[in-house]
Symmetry: C6
Subunit: 267 residues, 6 copies
Amino acid sequence: DFLNALTEVTSAFGASTDDLERCRLNGMVDCGARHHHIYQRAMLLVEQVKVSKGSPLVTCLLEGPSGSGKTALAATVGIDSDFPYVKIVSAESMIGLSEASKSAQIVKVFEDAYKSQLSIIILDDIERLLEFVAIGPRFSNLISQTLLVLLKRLPPKGKNMLVIGTTSEVTFLESVGLRDAFSVTYHVPTLNKEDAGKVLEQLNVFSGDDVDSAAETLNDMPIKKLYMVIEMAAQGAQGGGAEAIYSGQEKININHFYDCLGDVVRP
Amino acid sequence: DFLNALTEVTSAFGASTDDLERCRLNGMVDCGARHHHIYQRAMLLVEQVKVSKGSPLVTCLLEGPSGSGKTALAATVGIDSDFPYVKIVSAESMIGLSEASKSAQIVKVFEDAYKSQLSIIILDDIERLLEFVAIGPRFSNLISQTLLVLLKRLPPKGKNMLVIGTTSEVTFLESVGLRDAFSVTYHVPTLNKEDAGKVLEQLNVFSGDDVDSAAETLNDMPIKKLYMVIEMAAQGAQGGGAEAIYSGQEKININHFYDCLGDVVRP
Amino acid sequence: DFLNALTEVTSAFGASTDDLERCRLNGMVDCGARHHHIYQRAMLLVEQVKVSKGSPLVTCLLEGPSGSGKTALAATVGIDSDFPYVKIVSAESMIGLSEASKSAQIVKVFEDAYKSQLSIIILDDIERLLEFVAIGPRFSNLISQTLLVLLKRLPPKGKNMLVIGTTSEVTFLESVGLRDAFSVTYHVPTLNKEDAGKVLEQLNVFSGDDVDSAAETLNDMPIKKLYMVIEMAAQGAQGGGAEAIYSGQEKININHFYDCLGDVVRP
Amino acid sequence: DFLNALTEVTSAFGASTDDLERCRLNGMVDCGARHHHIYQRAMLLVEQVKVSKGSPLVTCLLEGPSGSGKTALAATVGIDSDFPYVKIVSAESMIGLSEASKSAQIVKVFEDAYKSQLSIIILDDIERLLEFVAIGPRFSNLISQTLLVLLKRLPPKGKNMLVIGTTSEVTFLESVGLRDAFSVTYHVPTLNKEDAGKVLEQLNVFSGDDVDSAAETLNDMPIKKLYMVIEMAAQGAQGGGAEAIYSGQEKININHFYDCLGDVVRP
Amino acid sequence: DFLNALTEVTSAFGASTDDLERCRLNGMVDCGARHHHIYQRAMLLVEQVKVSKGSPLVTCLLEGPSGSGKTALAATVGIDSDFPYVKIVSAESMIGLSEASKSAQIVKVFEDAYKSQLSIIILDDIERLLEFVAIGPRFSNLISQTLLVLLKRLPPKGKNMLVIGTTSEVTFLESVGLRDAFSVTYHVPTLNKEDAGKVLEQLNVFSGDDVDSAAETLNDMPIKKLYMVIEMAAQGAQGGGAEAIYSGQEKININHFYDCLGDVVRP
Amino acid sequence: DFLNALTEVTSAFGASTDDLERCRLNGMVDCGARHHHIYQRAMLLVEQVKVSKGSPLVTCLLEGPSGSGKTALAATVGIDSDFPYVKIVSAESMIGLSEASKSAQIVKVFEDAYKSQLSIIILDDIERLLEFVAIGPRFSNLISQTLLVLLKRLPPKGKNMLVIGTTSEVTFLESVGLRDAFSVTYHVPTLNKEDAGKVLEQLNVFSGDDVDSAAETLNDMPIKKLYMVIEMAAQGAQGGGAEAIYSGQEKININHFYDCLGDVVRP
Ligand SMILES: Nc1ncnc2c1ncn2[C@@H]1O[C@H](COP(=O)(O)OP(=O)(O)OP(=O)(O)O)[C@@H](O)[C@H]1O
Ligand SMILES: Nc1ncnc2c1ncn2[C@@H]1O[C@H](COP(=O)(O)OP(=O)(O)OP(=O)(O)O)[C@@H](O)[C@H]1O
Ligand SMILES: Nc1ncnc2c1ncn2[C@@H]1O[C@H](COP(=O)(O)OP(=O)(O)OP(=O)(O)O)[C@@H](O)[C@H]1O
Ligand SMILES: Nc1ncnc2c1ncn2[C@@H]1O[C@H](COP(=O)(O)OP(=O)(O)OP(=O)(O)O)[C@@H](O)[C@H]1O
Ligand SMILES: Nc1ncnc2c1ncn2[C@@H]1O[C@H](COP(=O)(O)OP(=O)(O)OP(=O)(O)O)[C@@H](O)[C@H]1O
Ligand SMILES: Nc1ncnc2c1ncn2[C@@H]1O[C@H](COP(=O)(O)OP(=O)(O)OP(=O)(O)O)[C@@H](O)[C@H]1O
Ligand SMILES: [Mg+2]
Ligand SMILES: [Mg+2]
Ligand SMILES: [Mg+2]
Ligand SMILES: [Mg+2]
Ligand SMILES: [Mg+2]
Ligand SMILES: [Mg+2]
């Protein structure tokens, strides 16, 4: 079942929670060497935080195009860390709150984490936390200042913390000084042809002949959007075909797949 | 009676409501292949939502010039979906509310929909929901952020949702990141000569000889404006002629029709 | 008496009210073919609204330079319509109110009108309702959004409404999308030489020889300003001459008239 | 005594009040033909208002450089009008009030005036009433809108009103539409050589030989600033000389006068 | 003792107060002809205010680079005036107050002064009273309007007032119209070589040979900064040397003086 | 142990506090002549403040790139001063407070310090206290004005104060006038090759041969970032290696060190 495909990367779970699991609804497939490298470096930071005395606070930013897999990756690191406190801070649970309330809620998460000897905080979609919009541009400077201070403030003696941020607006974060507030930054890329081919094989929804042609058209596609197109295509041109595809009885019609791709991709 | 002309497209009603019906006051006539294609693709998304496990939230934007039929089309998809929860969110019922109240009301509609296994939410005239005005430009960033989060937030497990947005300001939506927040976007066009001719024949208010000449002048006309011009012209130059036209006793004078068209169309 | 000169156009009064009458303090004289044409087209819309089933809301904008007679014209259409509900919405009665109160008051007028089977609402000096000022520019987006929605929202079933707007800032209305929110727009012009001559003859304050020379200098003059200059000139160079002029005993001295015109017209 | 020099222009007082008198602390001397002409035209408007039926509201703007005598002139017209209600609206009595309070207070003055059959309202230093500052520029749009409406709103039937505005920022008033809200505008100029000479002779503080040389240097000087320089010069280089000058015992030393002029005039 | 050096200029004290004395912590030394000239002209204005009938309000602005001695000069004029009411208005006593409170407090000082027959108000560091910052630029328009009105409003009959403003941001004051709101403006300069030499001789902290070389390097130095450098240099390179210098036992090492100057002056 | 390496510079402690010690978590190593020079000049200012009569307030700004050691240096001066009152004002303890509260809290620290005969106040990260963000730019003018006044206001008689500010946004401080509000400014630089080599030798985590090659790559590195890279590298490529490095048993692998450096440094 391609919806639950899991790679060995995430096979050994640590402190997992429902919230984190919902961040990778389509599981974790092998997306190629570049994605894997980032996972490994992030896990090294987890190790460093465990033993550090001189840098009780380590901060790491995952940036990349919309849908490239940043949130799923951060969640996976959180799950695999085995840390007693892993928390995701997301705009989803703060809709409609005032800037001050949002800021207070973020501070609260940090204060809670300070009580744990080892903690991970995921600041998901930082531009959304900051209520960023490109026109103007506008954003919440209150929340921006809060993050700037929190990303520099040391936890109490004896407590170590890893902060992972995600964003698809790294230029904006740069311009408000938030990019430089992170110690390290990793770029999470879209899939290239090879990556896409690898993913399609794992999903097993195309006939062997079509995998390569399909992968070719998926160059530069974010992993999240790939799942959306596959699912659209799986319905078939008349609808109702999804069952047969997912059960493996039938394969996706490559031409209908091209049609769906055309609807999703901007000309 | 041209005011109630209905095509077969909408003949099989599902979960219809008065609100949705008011969105297509002049019924649904055949507006040509391009309109029909969009209807079909939107109905495929309805099918996808019904069976999807990996994408519990599907989002679709209908954009196009003012009066091109977006709202009527969205309402028709809602009616034809047979979904238990179909709701239109419009600025009309929120005049004068504060940004915060509007935002809360929109959130409320989503929360209600989450209780239904299958739901459709129509965000009508998104630029109006956002209180957009081109000077500045100005708009409600609070509501904009609310929509950005809602269009990404997954419904609870087991609940699937289709969101249809409409707008005649797609460039603005683009600039605030709302266009890319939708999975797919369809452009609802104005009528071309052929479409207009087809519509005029269905309305049957011109003498046979005049249909073609009239259609010629209606190139690039939105369907909504076409209805307005026809009705103006139906009064006759001295007024009082509408009854005779609608009952079929008389036909519209083509020259008076040209006059009315001149008043409505910008030089 | 030129202050009460009335043309046949307005001779047959319908549902008249004091408020509407005050909008044409100097009565309605014949201002030439272009003014008359607009009056006729507006009256045709009145007819359309009476019988329409497919367009329960018709909207019409009168735009033109300051003082060209827009308000008087709209009031006249309202009076001549015989509609049971005719209401003028003006900034005069809302001085100092908050944007929210103004908006609420405007909505109230529409809600009241919805109770009437046939209604006319005159939105007078829309730029003033919107608190428009060219520097910035600044304006009330709250009221602007309210109008944008009200100009599109359909009255309840069975109720028909005509909205007439007036403005001398059509470019501004264009830029906030309010111009396109009206179905039709008519340009109310200043007087040309011929129009001015016609008006002067009706007023009968110049000796026959002077009418033409005077009219010549009044080219491109708005009707409202024409009345102001005439009255200034009627005082005479030493003051106190008005009585004699209005009673017809004397005529205005053409040179003094030129002097007054120079004070009023910008070099 | 030059401090109380009064010309015949203001000799016949009408409805005078202390407030208006304080506006011309140095009395009214003959400032030349251009000043006099404005006074005469303004008095003609007073006459017109007395008898008008078709224009119950007449509005007139006095604009000119700082210190050119606008306020004193407006006050003089008010005093000489003999009208039962003459009121000056000035920022001096409204320091620190909120925009809303200022606006309300201005409206109050108009409402009071509406009760009088004949009234004059002087809006002094309109840019100050509007809290105008060139940087930005910034100003109170609330008060600006209030004035725009008040300058157009007709008094109740049977009541006639003259509004006189003064400003040294006519370009600003133009840009907010307030200049065109006045029916007529007069430019109050600085003194030229001839005017200055005439004034100096009336003041009689220079020896006959020096009057011409002094007047020469006073070209383009506003009348108000002229009084300030004369008074500075009258102290003498060591101070204490004023008494002797004003009593006519001594004359001002022309070289010390040049020194003072240098301090006051911008290089 | 150079810290208490007083010139004859300030030897005859009038109505002195502690507040005013603190404004010239380092006393008043002879800073050269240009400083002296300004003092004399300001004292002439004091004389004028004492006897004036036609100009009950005289206003004077002291502008010049930071530290050039404006505040000390204004305080000295206040002390030397012998006026019963001399008050300094400074941002120091209003930190953190709202704009409205600051404005009210300033108005209060004027109202209090109006009760005195003769009064001096020093508006110190006007840009600071206005909360000016160059970015934007931003400033309090409320306070700016308050000052604009207060600088024009006449005291009650029989009361005369001198207002002295100081600023190091004369261009900003110009741009908000505050510079022209003062009758006269004097530019308080930095020291030139000659002035600096004169001051150094009075301070007597260099050996005779070094005075000239030191003065040479102090060209264009504000008097306030000169005191700071001298004090830094007086510590000696190893610290602890100040006592010996001030008591006259030792002289400042010229090379260490150059070092300190390098730290203070911008390259 | 490199985490606690202390140079002789800070060996003689004065009034030390926990807060100040936390500002130099990695101790104080010898960072080369330029850092040392600044320390010495700052300590001379401490001496000056102790004995000054004419300048009771001395102010000094430490500016330099992020992580160059400004805060640790300021804290060290505070600790070494032996002053009874040493206080650090930092945004960390004021997260989420309103501008007014922050401003009040800063004023409070100054008021408290005024009670001490000798005091040092460290304004840490002034751009953060001002909530500065480069877009716009935006910042708190309230706090900016508060600092501008506090940096000029003299302590009460007999009390002397040293204020040390730190910032990595000196251009911004310049533009709001805060840079010139300090008497002296010192630039705290990044390390050059020689400095870095010196530091690496003190840390003793590389084999002798590698120190020079490593130092070469650390040119222009801020001391704070150097510690972060060293700690990352100390984990080893597989993690878990830190213990062995810090205990001196093993040395850092130079190639892994280059890898880590690559992650931290921007291409
Ligand atoms: N190796 C992988 N890495 C990341 N995501 C993966 C991987 N394999 C499968 N996925 C799936 O791809 C999707 C990635 O979406 P995700 O929300 O993480 O992207 P994102 O970059 O955070 O998007 P956005 O920019 O919209 O926030 C998830 O549904 C996840 O289950
Ligand atoms: N095939 C059709 N598709 C859409 N609308 C149709 C069709 N046939 C007839 N209509 C009529 O055309 C009108 C379309 O107006 P609608 O309000 O949907 O346009 P719109 O694009 O939403 O306009 P706006 O940009 O002003 O929101 C409706 O009155 C509808 O009844
Ligand atoms: N045929 C006419 N049409 C319009 N106004 C007329 C006509 N004949 C006479 N008038 C008089 O001319 C004046 C027109 O002024 P009105 O206030 O309508 O102008 P306006 O265009 O609304 O001005 P503004 O731009 O200031 O709002 C009224 O006093 C009206 O009585
Ligand atoms: N003929 C005159 N016209 C005007 N003012 C005169 C005349 N003769 C003497 N004055 C005196 O000149 C001064 C004019 O100052 P006034 O305040 O009227 O100028 P203003 O143009 O209103 O200045 P501001 O631009 O500062 O408001 C008054 O003191 C007045 O007494
Ligand atoms: N002749 C003098 N004139 C002015 N100040 C003098 C003179 N002699 C000595 N001083 C001393 O020089 C210093 C001048 O500082 P002051 O605060 O007046 O300058 P300022 O121009 O107001 O500075 P800022 O621009 O910072 O407000 C005072 O300490 C004063 O005692
Ligand atoms: N000689 C030194 N000077 C300064 N810091 C040193 C020195 N030796 C070691 N350090 C260590 O280097 C680090 C310097 O970091 P610090 O926070 O002072 O930098 P900063 O310039 O204030 O950074 P930021 O710009 O982020 O505020 C501290 O951990 C400190 O212990
Ligand atoms: Mg994400
Ligand atoms: Mg629509
Ligand atoms: Mg009008
Ligand atoms: Mg004036
Ligand atoms: Mg000063
Ligand atoms: Mg720091």
